[in-house]
């Protein structure tokens, strides 16, 4: 059988979680548009859309990991703790570097990208770290339960 991708149970779970995440994204965007229509602006565009997308994507990935449908049977080798920590540190470093670069270059239009670049990059890095830590913890718990 195919060992490269997800197995059939994982594909089934992934499809189900994907559908739910897509509907959740739709509801959140509609809710945001509705609130905007009533004159309530919780955060300015495009940060609102980016935050909703990031939130939904984060929930989707975390649910995939908890359902064991994120990686297929071929990629089950456990990474050492140090590698994970180094990856997280490297991700934070890249985020900071991009932030500095964006502030120093002139391609960002004033008052728009600059306003949201910092929170967006930190949110992205934050979500990546949460995902990495969650993966690590869940994998260890599952492995302990299996033994």
């Amino acid at each position: 059988m195919n060992k490269k991708g997800l197995d059939e149970m994982q594909v089934q779970k992934k499809n189900s979680i994907g559908n739910q995440a897509f509907v959740m994204l739709l509801y959140l965007l509609m809710l945001d548009a509705g609130l905007y229509g009533f004159g309530f602006r919780w955060i300015s565009y495009p940060a609102n859309v980016m935050i909703i997308l990031t939130l939904t994507a984060g929930i989707y990935v975390i649910r995939l990991i908890t359902a064991n449908a994120f990686v297929g049977p071929a990629a089950k080798t456990e990474k050492p703790l140090m590698t994970v920590v180094m990856t997280m540190f490297f991700a934070a470093l890249i985020s900071a570097a991009i932030l500095v670069l964006m502030n120093n270059t002139s391609f960002s239009s004033p008052g728009q990208i600059e306003e949201i670049s910092a929170p967006l990059l930190f949110i992205t890095a934050g979500v990546a770290m949460v995902v990495a830590i969650t993966t690590l913890i869940i994998k260890r718990i599952q492995n302990r339960e299996d033994e």
Partner: protein, 63 residues
Amino acid sequence: MKSARAAKDLSQKDVADIVGVTRQTINAIENGDYNPTINLCIAICRALDRTLNDLFWEDDLNE
């Protein structure tokens, strides 16, 4: 299926590796939480040297 696996002295991980699925999938099949496709059933049967009837047909003999 669990007894057939035990008879061959294989762990869930061993069967999963032979068949090409995750250990969790084998566990879910053994516990009745997941209904595998016929392709996966055949692969499991081949791995355990049993027939489909032996593993997946429940009657007085196979329970």
